[in-house]
Amino acid sequence: MNRFERVPISEQSPEVRSHNFEEVCLGYTEEEAVAEAKRCLKCKNPQCVTKCPVSINIPEFIHEIAEGNFAEAAKVLAKYTALPAVCGRVCPQEVQCESKCVLGNKGDAVAIGKLERFAADWGRDHDVEVAEAKESNGHKVAVIGSGPAGITCAGDLAKEGYDVTIYEALHKPGGVLVYGIPEFRLPKETVVKHEIKNLKKLGVKIKTNVIVGRTVTIDDLFDKGKYDAVFVGSGAGLPKFMGIPGENYNGVFSANEFLTRNNLMKAYEDEYDTPIKVGSRVAVVGGGNVAMDAARTAKRLGAEVWIVYRRSEEELPARVEEVHHAKEEGINFELLTNPTEIIGDEKGWVKGIKCVRMELGEPDKSGRRRPMPVKGSEFEFDVDTIIMALGTSPNPLIPSTTEGLDVDKKKCLIADEQGQTSKEGVFAGGDAVTGAATVILAMGAGKEAAAAIDKYING
């Protein structure tokens, strides 16, 4: 076998999967995983680890897979991450661990993400007990939000013996893992539910339907709840719109609304009550992972779909794998194109979108080349649904109801690298601090904050 070639992984064919919500990637078999793991060079100074936000000992778990010790591999992962089966699926490994793999210099990097997924799935399917909590230390910590940051922070603290309660605003735990990321990328029943179950096994309590800032306040948690510290991992849930004419016509949705209806509320299943609207021709505005998720969801619901993005393919913020999958599934891309107006019919429903072609100028603050409109290039095309996937910002509810909790200009909570905010005893991390980012960065922040909270309480 060629050491420089990755063991291919099986996937549902694009023709089949674009009509169902089953997972796209089918995962490695045991033989395939062992073969792929054996490609690892076991570098003495492994660079992959340096690019992992939660510093997983990557060579160690891969070595266990190569030796056929799959349960051990799962245990190694569990030491570092509360969500290996999630991260193995949704992390942008190509710009993190895998980008530093020495094999990548001459060929394919080791498929670290796919191996992580394999080990985590194997552990789940074989009931491997992965984590244990220390004896209770009698201290109480409240965690706000049950997304990746909150789950990680809660899990790490519970392992250290803390009495942890998570407060979740929605009716199901998981945050963006349940309302945002679709089933075909991250199965809810098998993967997400199991990770939540592991958390509960560590003794973490989860209270759903509690909106901190409305149902209770952070001060209530300290005063009445007698918590020693609070971690805010409330994410970035507010959708952005463009501010162009016609945006309130019927048929214009935020990606959050569209995906929440489908993922959290299961609108795609007949027996669930929540409806979803998808026309026959859908434009999704934006180029990130959320845009790809919305586009591929609309496709599965039967629409023809166009991604409209103002920069070029190179700047697409979505993972390469997601863009590749979207293309395979027949999603059309209108790149270097920016909407300027939404056109409605006489009844106020969307009937088209007016766009302008763009060209790239000098780099802007983000380092990416600034898109500039090309004069006279305006054009229209017919669509009946428009989904805005332009990014999200943090919900101002918690800072606006908590005295002494400071935010920056973008309404993001201000916290240092350890997660300490401007208010004593309150720590924060994830999208609530950084603005919309990735699952793994939120987990990294949750981990840092857990260590800082431990230090704050136990000195």
Partner: protein, 289 residues
Amino acid sequence: MYKIVKKENLSTNIFSMDVLAPLVAQSAQPGQFVIVIADEKGERVPLTICDYDKEKGTVTIVAQSIGCSTKKMAQFNEGEYFHDFVGPLGQPSEYVNEDINELKKKKVLFVAGGVGTAPVYPQARWFHENGIDVDVIIGAKTKDLIILEDKMRKVAGNLYIATDDGSYGFKGMIPSLIEDLVVNQGKKYDLIVCIGPMIMMKFVCIMTKKLGIKTIVSMNPIMVDGTGMCGACRVTVGDETKFACVDGPEFDGHLVDFDEALRRQAQYKNEEAEKNEKHVCTCHKGGAN
């Protein structure tokens, strides 16, 4: 799970329920709303808080069974449980934070349309308890749909009833009654608070704008999460797009674009009908199984 401790039918298809939700009751204020999910497969249904009892830990909701989800809710009985019950959501009514003495100088009229009478009642009672008697109009299509009349009479200054068909009280639409009170009977109001069907609030606002009386309306658009996440509840107020769930639900009615709001409210009509057809028993507890 949230226990229904009391259920009462207020008219043929309007029901009231006291739901045990101590944390919500503890924090609830006039003007706010809750979201109810009847069973595992249910929708998130936003409903204005109609009353709350902090000691008993209950929150009262009132709904009219028209759509699939409210029909499903109507089938729950005392002693049974709703799957989820979350709140309080939205901003409390503005007057809650106003100086009582300033408020006492104002003459306030509450306008309640149909099932909107339920959330008006605790507000009128709040004023009454603070030594202010407000006038109240209750309007409905016909006499059978007038609810909470006796309770309201105890807390209101003057209570006026209007029915479209004239089967009870003033014959005609609420805006005509407001015009009659102000123009013909010389009543003076500094503030009107109007809660009811969107179409009623639209025409009340057209009338009160003409009469020059500030009018607050409680918007009830489509929502999914109710916490600012989905943006389905976008409503144009003045030149701005607001989210009814976090910026509202109460707004200056003279600034609300009602035509857009009415149109947006009908956005899922076809899909709901289709869902109804596909699983005929959706309106029943426990879904289609």
